[in-house]
């Protein structure tokens, strides 16, 4: 079962999506909205290929040791974006990178939940493109790189948790139709139940909140004019166009 949030005639609606990917909208124009609205929590350094590449540098200053607990960050509301929305990359040419990730949508309030019970709190799954400028530091919150307007498309829809097993799903990133990166949710270091336990231990998760489970290597550069698509098997295909940011201060 798939559900999407759409805007039609000025009204925000949550509607079912049919197997062909068409939302149950009224006839006429509609716009996709971010598939969930709530607090978006990202998990950094949660991908094995990424950690394998970074491992040597995490032994050096300033880190000296890899993190003992998962490293989290927020994608605030100005970053929230939808299927077919526009990703605005810096006009000065600084490179933005795609960040394919499985998104976990919380279904009911979760506080101090144990891993064994965690899946009861999941409403479903969605596709996230956690866009970022180059990450030069993992020890300081890089909001300038990660929290730019439009930098977190989520959608097109949420697939209900009971209809999919997310332990080993392929993620693909395409730019202008060309396959540029492949990953798998099996590469997550901390998996979904563990993340819910860790996070809900100190932060009460609310219905609609989103956990962005972790992105891989930042290998896929996005430039104005591109169309970027992130696909997760059994979940969906999230497509966005890339433009140069407008209104930059002269």
């Amino acid at each position: 079962m798939k559900k999407a949030r759409i805007l039609q005639n000025g009204i925000i609606k949550t509607v079912a999506v049919d197997p062909s990917g068409t939302p149950a909208a009224e006839p006429g124009h509609y716009q996709w909205l971010p598939a969930t609205e709530g607090t978006y929590i990202g998990v950094a350094l949660n991908n094995r290929p990424l950690m394998n590449r970074l491992a040597p540098s995490l032994q050096e200053a300033p880190y000296k040791t890899p993190p003992k607990t998962p490293v989290y960050f927020f994608k605030p509301v100005n970053t929230h974006n939808a299927h077919q929305g526009v990703i605005e990359v810096p006009a000065d040419g600084e490179t933005a990178y795609a960040g394919a990730a499985l998104g976990v949508v919380i279904g009911k309030q979760a506080r101090k939940v144990m891993q064994a019970d965690a899946m009861q709190y999941v409403a479903g799954y969605t596709v996230v493109n956690e866009v970022s400028l180059a990450e030069t530091s993992y020890y300081r919150p890089a909001i300038k790189a990660k929290c730019r307007d439009t930098f977190c498309p989520v959608g097109p829809w949420v697939v209900s948790a009971d209809s999919v097993d997310v332990t080993a799903l392929t993620l693909k990133t395409f730019v202008n139709g060309e396959l540029r990166q492949t990953g798998n949710t099996a590469d997550l270091i901390h998996r979904v139940p563990a993340l819910i336990e860790y996070i809900s231990n100190f932060l009460t998760l609310e219905p609609g909140d989103l956990i962005i489970t972790g992105t891989g290597l930042r290998d896929v550069a996005l430039v104005a004019g591109d169309t970027v698509t992130v696909e997760i098997e059994q979940i969906g295909r999230l497509e966005n166009t890339v433009v140069a940011e407008k209104g930059a201060r002269a």
Partner: protein
């Protein structure tokens, strides 16, 4: 004018607060400060500054940053005036941080520093508690430290920007059980209010209700369950809250649910 958000008889109201701290709800009802549950006075993205006072940076043995060190807190961490904050069990050190909070008044993107004060709607006070035991040396400030449930009291109210003549000359103080423990002045901010509004708006849109917690001066110390902690910013307000243990908090939640 002071603006508050309060719960009264299971409903949430916007209210104004007079100089004697009496409230007038949006429906005209007049109430005393003790009649209501105080809620956070703003709602939006919460930014917080690390190391934004030179003395505090020195206290932590850090060089003052050359670019603002900004992180984001989740809405889960906010509580209102006269609420409780949980000190996790088996800790060495949890401390308060008195901070001036800037509340954005209108949408800001690519705002010049010289125009930035027009985008400030008002000011409030927060206590940006931190659990030092949970800092992992270079992966910080992490959410486990800075976005814990109940650990960011904010309020009691928002004061209109027009009522604060100079936000860069305000004394901040923290009292624990009535004893003065922390004192500083916003004149020592490394990155001042217009700089921060301009800086953040240079790469993201700020929306009305967004909050910028501007950082804390030196004078940190441990707080324990039972302590009454009050943080005060001159001309803005005095925010009180009490530290409780995990067990006491779990008991409170159980009673509230019953």
């Amino acid at each position: 004018m002071k603006h508050a958000t309060v719960r009264y008889q299971n409903r949430v109201y916007q209210a104004t607060v007079d100089d004697a701290n009496a409230l007038t709800l949006s429906d005209g009802t007049r109430l005393n400060a003790t009649d209501v549950t105080w809620l956070p006075p703003a709602s939006g993205t919460i930014f917080a500054l690390g190391l934004n006072y030179a003395d505090h940076a020195a206290e932590l043995d850090f060089k003052a940053p050359t670019e603002p060190l900004v992180f984001i807190k989740g809405p889960n961490t906010l509580t209102g005036h006269n609420q409780v904050s949980v000190r996790p069990d088996n800790l060495e050190y949890m401390h308060y941080e008195a901070e001036l909070v800037v509340v954005i008044g209108k949408t800001a993107k690519n705002v010049r520093r010289e125009d930035a004060m027009q985008y400030v709607g008002g000011y409030t006070v927060c206590n940006d508690y931190a659990v030092r035991d949970y800092l992992e040396n270079y992966y910080r400030p992490n959410l486990r430290v800075k976005s814990r449930d109940t650990l960011t009291p904010i309020g009691p109210w928002m004061v209109d920007a027009a009522d604060v003549a100079d936000p860069h000359n305000l004394t901040l103080r923290t009292y624990v059980n009535g004893e003065l423990r922390q004192e500083g002045s916003t004149k020592d901010l490394i990155f001042d209010v217009p700089f921060l509004v301009s800086y953040l708006s240079s790469f993201m849109t700020l929306n009305p209700g967004d909050m910028i917690c501007t950082g804390t001066p030196e004078g940190l110390s441990d707080v324990q369950p039972g302590d009454l902690v009050e943080v005060e910013v001159e001309q803005v307000g005095r925010l009180a809250n009490r530290i409780v243990s995990e067990a006491a908090y779990e008991q409170m939640l159980k009673e509230n649910a019953a």
